[in-house]
Symmetry: C2
Subunit: 477 residues, 2 copies
């Protein structure tokens, strides 16, 4: 009964995917809306996922020599304007501080939408010699972009992220770092979030404001839409010229530095939800789940049940993040509550189980139940978590591959998008006019020019002229 | 020579303490100034200290049941105004966002100076029943206060902190939590930062805007000035009334919650500098030092020296955060650089040491050097770090006690402040007029009414009327 009630409370994804998403986000208590339009509150269950993402990514960054810093959240208008393309890209969507205390400011300050300008300003002060390079800085912070329409995690006015900003002596080193960080993101997503990524380069139209080139990782959601999940930019020496960041090389000559930036945000939590979730709610990959195992005692008022459950918890805690739910709700209610929250493994333990020296393990991803001996429950749980992590990635890969199509003309292209949305691999002549036309005709955008190229045809899917590149296209969040 | 040069570059603390402080902060590369007045950049050496503070405090918070969340950085003007005392306290010093993108906002948003109003707004939505209590939320974020004069770490327009906000069923529970978190702060400062704290209650004049009572921990800096290092507030049910935060109790009656908030900020890094630092720069307590041990090879170009140093590093890394400085600077230069940065232990290792199977360990806090056998260098380093941590706390306690005085009349009071600045313990009648008069006469403020009371006299130090409480007074940052 209780279970019915909670499950009924969310819309099925087949019926209305957008509503299903909103329901999961609210019912799993990941976020709440705040009194400021488009700003979300990250509740404990949502923030704990972000904390785990931070821990994992931060360790990977530091292993490549990155150091963390903290830059101010305000950027003077004049500083934002120093790089022409950059200010054009961001000025229309920033929040402006005009008053401090009771006084009007002489110069407006924008709340950072991203911090390239601040890092450039710092580098121009602290980089003098080749000995000062490379600078490999990163910061964890929130940024603000004045979006017209917002959706939890996917697009909000303020969001949490990390932004890495590096300065290098040579163009080669900068390009190498740009790709290195893209690979860090892709590996993290695959190994920890169980989300397979397409790695590639953005077209000029889609690249970051001020960048020479932007690389991206793109994931496919359950509904066949794409989600840009992390980006890494190579700025060349454009910002260095705008901000006069020069160093003296070994031959005592002045040279401009070459820069990169790369970011991943709370948006990736949207990907976790939309890649793995189902009609019972969230499904979290074990490596990122704040709670990996929940123990639900059955007939917990019977003598010995809670004691045994506590003992089992103790044992499992050596291999997993485990909680014992001994609240006074019914087991059925607890089952559906922890399913909604996406806890990978549930341990059911009742008087009869204890008598038989066993417990039931239920997988969140498949619903499958197995009975295991209490003697080696820690090992069983550990093995099961590994299996779930592995299977979730395999399923996500299968889904993505099954929803990746090829098209050689616009009829095919449009038909696929309409009937079986997913990634479309199609050739492109390299002309922005075709990109714009495809978007106008189908609402699909170029997701990336993947590193792994295929020759689908020798003609552009749009204009029929000779093709230069294979592009992944798709409708995107 | 090199050493001379770096040391000469900072002002001695006896000559000009304020300048010494600024010099250390800059030369140890903890911060840099940004292009926004009063906003500082936390550089890698500074931010790494904050990361360690976060890790330690966060674990202590979580051990008491606290959960982390993230709230928006913007507060609508109408929300800030809901609690009368609170808005009066903060409105004059907030930054206002008036434009989003190209449009003027209908309602101004302030950049959070603190987030009581946001947490209250959330609690009014999610607290319904006694089952929902307590709520023990915390967030790590930055806040903005439009200060007129700023100093690195001590007072800046934007600073990093954590703010805990809890809601409880009863007044007793709220008071208990308020004191519990004050104790968490004090224990952390003593055990990890080696800074002894005076715990006590703020007078009404000094309490937080909107609080029933504010508790504080106060530390004494090297120059005899006090630094408020962390505060914990009990709001009673004042905010609950203003924001209508009610819950249904077990008897189905509606009741108002009782709330607390508590915070510690990057300001505490200022305390670390001013309690432990010396004329060679920063002195970091081992438990908070990002680098605990630096190995400086002597004659590192000689065959075998760097190899041995790497081997020693490997061994020490099992007990401490260790780096090997194999840069091409001279050993003397490295010595003073790492002294400036406050690294607790330096290992000197040259060809002759290697021949004798030994190394020299130099303590940053005392300058003392000991020669140890390479065979058990990890144990020796580990023991030395413990000894340094212990001794630094003892020295800080001794300094504080030696600079804590008693006064029974205003002549004594003024003389102490003028000649030997420090804490002054003196009796107070409880009248705000005396507090104001003392401040006017001496610039000293009441730091706290300590939990550990003494009866210095039975008369108020200022007016001579019957005394109610002993107060710690002092000049404060």
């Amino acid at each position: 009964m209780a279970k019915e009630k909670m499950v009924k409370a969310i819309t099925s994804m087949e019926e209305d995917f957008a509503q299903w998403y909103t329901d999961v986000v609210k019912k799993a208590e990941l976020i709440d809306y705040s009194s400021v339009r488009g700003c979300m509150i990250l509740r404990p269950s949502g923030y704990a996922i972000w904390e785990n993402i931070q821990k994992e990514l931060d360790a990977r960054f530091k292993a490549t020599g990155v150091e963390n810093v903290y830059m101010p959240m305000f950027i003077p208008e004049s500083l934002l304007q120093k790089e022409k393309d950059h200010v054009e890209g961001f000025a229309p969507e920033v929040a402006w501080v005009t008053h401090g205390g009771l006084e009007k400011l002489q110069e407006r300050l924008c709340v950072r939408p991203t911090s390239e300008t601040l890092f450039c300003d710092l580098y121009s002060n602290i980089v003098q010699s080749y000995r000062d390079l490379p600078k490999l800085y990163n910061q964890w912070c929130s940024v603000v972009r004045w979006e017209k329409t917002t959706r939890p995690f996917l697009r909000s006015m303020e969001f949490l992220w990390q932004e890495g900003h590096t300065a290098h002596a040579t163009a080669e080193e900068a390009e190498e770092r740009t790709i290195q960080m893209l690979n860090v993101y892709a590996d993290f997503c695959e190994q920890v979030l169980a989300i397979p990524m397409i790695k590639g380069k953005k077209t000029d139209k889609e690249k970051f404001a001020g960048a020479h080139s932007t690389y991206t990782i793109e994931a496919l959601m359950h509904d066949g839409k794409a989600l840009q999940s992390g980006t890494s930019h190579n700025f060349g020496d454009g910002f260095a010229h705008a901000f006069d960041i020069q160093y003296t090389d070994k031959d005592n000559k002045l040279r401009y530095v070459h820069q990169t930036s790369w970011g991943m945000s709370t948006r990736i939590i949207g990907a976790i939800i939309m890649v793995h979730g189902d009609n019972s709610g969230l499904v979290l990959p074990p490596r990122i789940a704040p709670t990996q195992v929940v123990i639900v005692p059955i007939m917990q008022k019977k003598e010995g049940v809670l004691e045994k459950a506590a003992e089992i918890k103790e044992r499992i805690s050596s291999v997993a993040r485990v909680v014992l739910d001994d609240s006074d709700k019914s087991p059925g209610w607890k089952f559906s509550e922890h399913e909604m929250r996406g806890v990978p493994v549930r341990v059911e333990l009742g008087p009869r189980d204890i008598e038989n020296d066993q417990a039931v393990l239920a997988r969140r991803d498949t619903g499958e139940k197995i009975t295991v001996s209490l003697d080696n429950i820690a090992e069983e749980v550990s093995r099961l978590l590994e299996a779930i992590q592995h299977d979730m990635l395999e399923r996500a890969k299968k889904h993505r591959d099954a929803h990746t199509y090829t098209a050689v003309n616009m009829d095919e292209f449009a038909k696929i998008l309409k009937e079986t949305p997913g990634f479309i691999k199609a050739m492109w002549c390299g002309d922005e006019a075709c990109e714009l036309k495809i978007k106008e005709m189908t609402t699909a955008t170029s997701r990336c020019m993947p590193f792994e190229q295929e020759e689908i045809s020798d003609k552009c899917v749009c204009c029929g002229k000779p093709a230069k590149t294979m592009v992944y296209w798709g409708k995107a969040y």
